[in-house]
């Protein structure tokens, strides 16, 4: 149910984070938490794995407690990659098909009843989704969709929004039990970077209004307060470090996958560890990451987070 993304789990996560600070508080809080959540405290807040895309994806999810920590048997899952551009894999404008396929397989392995890979593409054709659809084809033909028609979206209010008070969200996302963000890491001409927070714009119908009526960064944060993925997997196998989001720009191979329960932390890690226009940038220099942190949607203070690193 869609309430799963609205407010409640984040509050719980917040609570978890607070309690993990003090052992005593944790001990007191533990009985109130589901076992899965309690286990989560034992896992790093960020997993950074280098290696080939599929293997690194698998390992990163494993470090966070495995897919069963996020997806239960019978769950409906929506995976949101970037597949808005009709350009080849090497252009780094779309998420690597291998990352998406690995996530699909992991979801299926723990018994997800339905897995959909969805995006609202910018180009009205199937070329955008072709690579990812081809990769997922052997698993199921009823999986990868680019939704352009208004009737596939439903209007919802955004509680506590600063500027984006309502929006139209994909019905499938509203009806799903689990949302997984799988953005590719790329630069973005107006928001600095496009990662999991910015990527949620691919799940709504009218994105233009976010540019027009509102301050875009504030609107992105509003949207992220509504659409909260349980799991974020940032594809840094290759990173479009300039001229994003459409490219063509400088693509750097990092062979890295970043995974987290926290959108802000995952995005912050990606900003900090990859180059942007040949420079080193800090997460606070990306307005929507800073605003999301300030609003308590997640944490960008990487130095205070537990980061698990691995090479596969």
């Amino acid at each position: 149910m869609w309430e799963a993304f609205l407010g409640r789990p984040m509050a719980r996560r917040h609570f978890l984070r607070l309690s993990s600070g003090a052992a005593l508080a944790l001990a007191a809080g533990a009985p109130l938490l589901k076992p899965v959540r309690a286990d989560a405290a034992a896992f790093p807040e960020l997993a950074v794995v280098t290696g080939s895309a599929a293997a690194a994806t698998r390992a990163a999810v494993e470090m966070l407690g495995g897919m069963s920590a996020f997806v239960k048997k019978g769950d409906k899952v929506v995976i949101k990659p970037n597949m808005s551009f009709a350009r080849g894999i090497e252009s780094a404008t779309n998420t690597s098909p291998e990352v998406v396929r690995e996530l699909v397989l992991l979801c299926r392995a723990v018994g997800a009843s339905k897995v959909r890979v969805l995006d609202h593409p910018l180009r009205p054709n199937d070329l955008c989704v072709k690579d990812i659809r081809d990769a997922c084809g052997p698993i199921s033909n009823d999986m990868v969709y680019a939704l352009e028609e208004e009737s596939f979206y439903r209007e919802v209010r955004v509680p506590g929004a600063k500027t984006l008070r309502k929006t139209d969200v994909m019905k499938d996302v509203l009806e799903a039990d689990v949302l997984i963000a799988a953005p590719v890491a790329k630069s973005h001409g107006s928001t600095g970077v496009s990662l999991s927070l910015k990527g949620m714009m691919g799940l709504v119908y009218d994105r233009g209004v976010m540019h027009y009526l509102h301050d875009l960064s504030t609107a992105v944060v509003d949207l992220a307060s509504l659409l909260k993925p349980k799991l974020v997997v940032v594809d840094g196998s290759r990173v479009l470090t300039t001229k994003g989001p459409g490219g063509p720009g400088k693509v750097v191979r990092y062979d890295t996958i970043i995974a987290s329960r926290d959108m802000v932390a995952a995005d912050a890690q990606a900003v900090a560890m990859f180059e942007w226009y040949g420079r080193r940038m800090e997460p606070r220099q990306v307005k929507h990451i800073r605003l999301a942190h300030e609003r308590g949607l997640g944490r960008m203070d990487l130095e205070a987070l537990t980061i698990g690193k691995k090479r596969v």
């Binding site: 350009r87 339905k114 910018l122 054709n125 596939f152 107006s190 994105r207 233009g208």
Partner: protein
């Protein structure tokens, strides 16, 4: 019994299959199937469309072949096209059937000379073609039918189908069938429906007066076929068994059978053979005979009573039956012909006077034309305003030009980016054009057929004018023609258009989030309009740099000015 019923079913079957094929091709013309099939087959069988093809000057033999075949067959069989293949004729037959009762009650009559009107329509249209605008060929029957079905009825049907698709989606969801999860039917929208309905509704309504009023009296295609069929080899013959019962006269949908049932006008006969089927004596037959003379020996059968040879008289003789009550068929026919000539000249004069046509020159510059459109003069001469390109356009960007665009350009296709962008990989409009007014280009050539250049309207732009972080135009541009750079006095990065990379496709204008008029608009400036030759070569020569969607593109430069931040980042 069987002998009489059978051919009627046969012809109705051909009519039904033809109309169905016409409609299917029209409905599917934006689809991928059209890479293997030509969507404009029926249009190209229309002799007036053929005229437009010749006027446009870009006609290949493939394009002309169906029209030439129909003309050749007409020389032998007469106006068979009207009674079998013509989608408008079949439509009229259907509505005429609906009107049957009402028509009988109204007891409408048409004066014999009304039949000559169609020659006036024909000569007027032909005259305007000679003067350089095929605007008036929009009244050719298949062009009319294409606009009516493709641009008016199809959108209505599609929205109905889309409602149905919604139900199928829900049913699929209940039954757990995923395959229908996102079933939907795109519903196109076209402007100027009134212009089509304003012609077609009266045409159909005239069936309340007499059956096939349009085909008898007004259709310029029918007029041309009538002229071509004068020497046809297929003869209507009436045997001595005829009892003058006039059943055939009443059955004839064209009113071609005269007071004497042995006498039927070849020009008016559409060889539907209803007369033969209706004859209780089976006295009427159609047989292939050698023509007696190039333009003689037609009209009535061999069993004509002697003393009526004038019926097949040369020259204007065929008009005789068009006004059977007239005292002298000859003079009336001649008068009609003369009038036609005058009318044709009038059409030519109007054509010359049309702004934007060849001789008048173009006062206002041409609008944004579909990629591969011929140079404007040839384009206007070749475009028969059938709307096939608009129907075939999968993004719905092609719309008919309104009257404010000038009479000469009325209903010709215009790219309207706010309704949809022109997809770089798509070549459907050129494929659908029956006259070659839009060249059929291979995809790699089409990418280079620049149709215009984008212009940022800075006082409307969210970034330029309102310091908002917007880069939608850059994001959607398939050609990488928009650069975001820092500009003095603006806090955010702002878009610039690189004209040498801009194809005019209009993705930027379509997606621009500014409400109302877009803050980035495509102008026809810099469009490549060529009658022949390679757009790639011409484009390269003009300094254009079009590379789409490929890894072949070189990555953009990474030179940031010293001390400045990457776009979108803060201090």
């Amino acid at each position: 019994m069987t002998r009489r019923r059978f051919p009627r079913i046969g012809r109705a079957l051909i009519q039904g299959v033809s109309l169905a094929l016409f409609l299917v091709l029209l409905a599917l013309s934006p689809g991928a199937l059209m890479e293997h099939v030509r969507p404009d087959l029926f249009l190209r069988m229309d002799p007036l469309v053929l005229l437009g093809s010749l006027a446009g000057g870009n006609a290949t033999l493939t394009l002309l072949l169906p029209g030439l075949m129909v003309i050749l067959l007409t020389l032998v069989l007469g106006r068979f096209f009207c009674s079998t293949l013509c989608p408008l004729g079949t439509t009229i037959d259907l509505t005429d059937r609906l009107f049957r009762r009402l028509r009988k009650r109204l007891k409408g009559r048409v004066p014999g000379r009304a039949r000559a009107w169609k020659y006036l329509v024909l000569s007027f249209a032909a005259g305007s073609v000679l003067a350089g605008s095929s605007l008036f060929l929009m009244v050719s029957p298949v062009s009319l039918a294409t606009r009516f079905y493709g641009l008016v009825l199809y959108p209505v049907l599609a929205s109905g189908l889309n409602l149905g698709a919604g139900l199928v989606r829900q049913a699929g969801d209940l039954l757990g069938i995923g395959a229908f999860a996102y079933l939907s039917v795109p519903v196109p929208k076209y402007s100027l429906a009134w212009a089509t309905l304003g012609l077609v509704v009266p045409i159909l309504a005239l069936g309340l007066v007499v059956p096939r009023f349009w085909c008898r009296c007004l259709c310029p295609g029918g007029a041309l076929f009538a002229l071509l069929s004068l020497g046809r080899s297929l003869k209507r013959e009436v045997s001595g068994a005829c009892t003058d019962c006039s059943a055939c006269r009443r059955a004839c949908p064209m009113g071609a059978v005269g007071q004497d049932p042995r006498d039927a006008s070849t020009a008016e006969c559409i060889v539907c053979r209803k007369c033969a089927q209706s004859c209780p004596r089976e006295a009427v037959t159609f047989r292939l005979r050698k023509p007696l003379a190039p333009f003689g020996g037609s009209g009535t059968g061999r069993n004509n009573p002697p003393g009526e040879p004038g019926v097949q008289g040369r020259g204007g003789g065929f008009f005789r039956s068009t006004c059977p009550d007239g005292p002298s068929g000859f003079s009336k026919g001649r008068r009609t012909l003369v009038l036609s000539g005058v009318f044709g000249a009038g059409g030519a004069a109007v054509g010359f006077a049309l702004p934007g046509s060849s001789s008048a020159g173009s006062a206002a510059g041409p609008p944004i034309r579909p990629p591969g459109a011929l140079p404007e003069t040839d384009f206007l001469a070749g475009c028969v305003r059938c709307g096939a390109c608009m129907r075939a356009c999968p993004t719905n960007t092609l719309q008919p030009s309104s009257l404010t665009g000038g009479l000469a350009r009325f209903f010709s296709p215009v790219v309207v980016p706010r309704t949809g962008p022109c997809e770089p990989g798509c070549t459907r409009c050129g494929r659908a054009c029956p006259t070659g007014a839009i060249r059929e280009l291979p995809a790699h050539e089409k990418v280079w057929a620049k149709i215009g250049t984008a212009l940022i309207v800075r006082h409307l732009c969210l970034a330029w004018d309102k310091d908002k972080e917007c880069l939608v135009c850059d994001e959607v541009c398939p050609f990488g023609a928009i650069d975001l750079r820092r500009a003095e006095g603006v806090k955010v990065s702002v878009p610039f258009v690189d004209a040498s990379r801009c194809n005019g496709c209009g993705f930027c204008e379509y997606y621009c989030p500014v409400a109302g008029p877009s803050a980035v608009i495509v102008e026809p400036k810099g469009a490549l309009r060529m009658a022949e030759g390679s757009y790639i070569r011409a484009g390269r020569a003009a300094g254009l740099r079009f590379e789409v969607e490929g890894p072949s593109r070189a990555p953009g430069e990474v030179s940031l000015p010293e001390g400045s931040l990457p776009p979108g980042f803060e201090e």
